[in-house]
């Protein structure tokens, strides 16, 4: 039997692989792209772009913890003007489907960014980063109520030439209200979860161990949290969910697909092992064959929660 690893992502259309690469962990730096060559990647998401260039946060920006990473990069990016200017050269020639991630301080700025991206030809979608924990008032400010999220998505969807992916924070995923609002507003898909706001202190220096007061927690430590949110939300909405949060193996990816994600995305582990997509796809393929399934979507349909009695 031939197993198909392609996935249908609603308004985003078909992707040839269920494995995506998350914003902030994909880049066009040459050494990285060399590692990524020939990897079966369904789509890549750019670093989040803001209206103006951002220098990012002071050092240290990275802290490793047990099975986790805390970052406070601070959305370092060249701003929308430079991004749009360099886009064709930097992204359009890549052999990957690309999604552009954006974030801004107000709904009006989000709309402005979408207008600017409408000039481009090749993105498959725009991801609205409604939840970066590292930037004061960006995203989070108007991300604190489902109504506001719904209205931002709606304003953007009215004018966007591209389908929209709403990326939600864990706080926006605690119940399905934000996800439903984004769906109502016209989002074509959801991405969850973003990093979890987190702190580490340097007790000897009486200060934060990061260059900022707090950062965002990611990596395998957050995986069960993300899985639960993906499960709850994917069963409450009818648009596809891209599941992410510490996925580091084929088995992890299958877990998210089984819980209801239509595709998965790699973040932290993409920094550590850019060749992970091929290992994950091989594992998913073997799983489909072993359980006589023809496509990735069947994995979640076979999940029955706690319905059937456990084998002794």
């Amino acid at each position: 039997m031939k197993s198909d690893l392609g996935v249908e992502l609603g308004g985003l259309g078909r992707l040839e692989s269920p494995v995506l690469l998350s914003s902030g962990t994909f880049g066009t730096a040459t050494p990285y792209l060399k590692m990524l060559q020939d990897q079966p990647v369904g789509a890549v998401c750019t670093k989040t772009i803001t209206p103006l260039p951002k220098n990012g946060n002071p050092q240290p920006r990275i802290l490793e913890g047990p099975s986790s990473l805390i970052n406070s990069i601070g959305l370092e990016n060249p701003g929308i003007d430079a991004f749009v200017r360099g886009f064709e050269r930097e992204y359009a020639s890549l052999p990957f489907v690309h999604i552009v991630s954006i974030s801004a301080n107000s709904p009006g700025e989000f709309v402005y960014l979408v207008e600017r991206l409408n000039e481009l030809r090749t993105p498959r979608a725009i991801e609205l980063n409604l939840s970066c924990p590292n930037v004061d008032s960006e995203g989070l400010a108007f991300g604190n109520s489902p109504e506001k999220i719904g209205s931002v998505v709606h304003e953007c969807a009215r004018i966007s030439r591209f389908p929209l992916v709403a990326k939600l924070s864990p706080f926006q995923s605690i119940d399905p209200s934000f996800a439903l609002a984004a769906q109502e507003g016209g989002a074509a898909a959801l991405a969850l979860i973003n990093t979890i706001p987190a702190m580490v202190l340097d007790i000897h220096q009486f200060r934060s161990a990061l260059g900022t007061l707090s950062g965002g927690l990611s990596g395998p430590a957050i995986r069960p949290v993300a899985l639960k949110m993906v499960y709850e939300i994917s069963h409450a909405v009818h648009i596809p969910v891209i599941g992410m949060g510490g996925i580091s193996s084929g088995e992890d990816a299958i877990e998210f697909l089984m819980a209801g994600a239509s595709a998965v995305s790699l973040g932290t582990m993409n920094l550590v092992k850019p060749t992970l997509p091929s290992a994950i796809c091989a594992c998913i393929h073997d799983f489909l064959v072993e359980h006589e399934m023809e496509n990735v979507g069947e994995i979640s349909r076979r999940f029955d929660g706690l319905q059937s009695p456990r084998e002794p």
Partner: protein, 254 residues
């Protein structure tokens, strides 16, 4: 730039709390330029991020790493046995450019001297004269086996030690202060941040190059975890570095 499974050929102590590891990694070794580094997966399954290590030498299909014990990752690396296999990614970073033969000064401190190893050999092999200056905190830290990578090629090797019983006391910075810098065509430095910050004003205007150490997320230029401030904007140590013009770095803001 590739991912390679590298077998441990040898692992010996090199001074107090440090080891010299030689790994069989022919692909990475063959592509390595002076001043480049590898990202090493340490204690996989327990430690998440790879650790960056400068390539001290790259002869005969191997890469040599000088590893100081500073935490969980380096402790684990120092305890690897012969024939064990490590997961490396590299070579990474821009590395040092190779200038025409001339007179060169290399200034290294602590584990930072590793990034100068291949450079020393290549400069000498190209017919240059290389004077090496190295600073250590104590005599016990002096890594004999690592010094071989320099002493066989350089014209002079000066060791200086801050504390303890040693002929030349002081810091590498003190030594640089006493040099007639005019006689050097090129100056290269790598070492702890305090040393580099002290060297920056002394070497100002001389086109000195510096290799920086940094805490890194990816090492491949995508995460922006290691960005430092420079006169030409933020730059990633792993991608646009680790080698920078000394005068380009904004030392006060690091």
């Amino acid at each position: 730039m590739i991912e390679e499974r590298a077998r441990v050929l040898s692992n010996h102590p090199a001074g107090k709390n440090a080891h010299l590891l030689r790994l069989h990694a022919p692909s990475i070794s063959g592509q390595t330029k002076p001043g480049q580094f590898v990202q090493v997966s340490c204690d996989p399954g327990k430690l998440l991020l790879r650790r960056p290590y400068s390539i001290l030498d790259n002869r005969d299909g191997s890469v040599s790493l000088y590893v100081k014990r500073v935490g969980n990752g380096s402790n684990w690396l120092c305890e690897r046995k012969q024939e064990e296999v490590l997961d490396l990614m590299g070579p990474l970073g821009n590395g040092f450019p190779l200038p025409p033969p001339g007179r060169h000064m290399l200034v290294g401190g602590g584990s930072g001297l590793a990034s100068l190893g291949i450079l020393c050999r290549l400069l000498a092999e190209a017919g240059g004269e290389v004077d090496v200056l190295m600073g250590f905190r104590t005599p016990e830290e002096i890594p004999g086996a690592v010094l071989d990578a320099f002493s066989r090629f350089c014209r002079s090797l000066t060791l200086v030690v801050e504390k303890g019983d040693f002929p030349v006391k002081g810091t590498a910075v003190d030594q640089v202060r006493q040099q007639n810098l005019e006689k050097y065509d090129e100056i290269y430095c790598c070492g702890p941040m305090g040393m580099l910050k002290a060297l920056a004003p002394l070497l100002h205007g001389r086109g000195a190059l510096v290799s920086l150490e940094a805490r890194m997320g990816c090492g491949t230029g995508v995460c922006f975890g290691c960005t430092i401030p420079t006169r030409n904007g933020g730059k990633r140590v792993c991608l646009e570095g680790p080698v920078f013009c000394m005068d380009e770095v904004i030392w006060d803001e690091i």
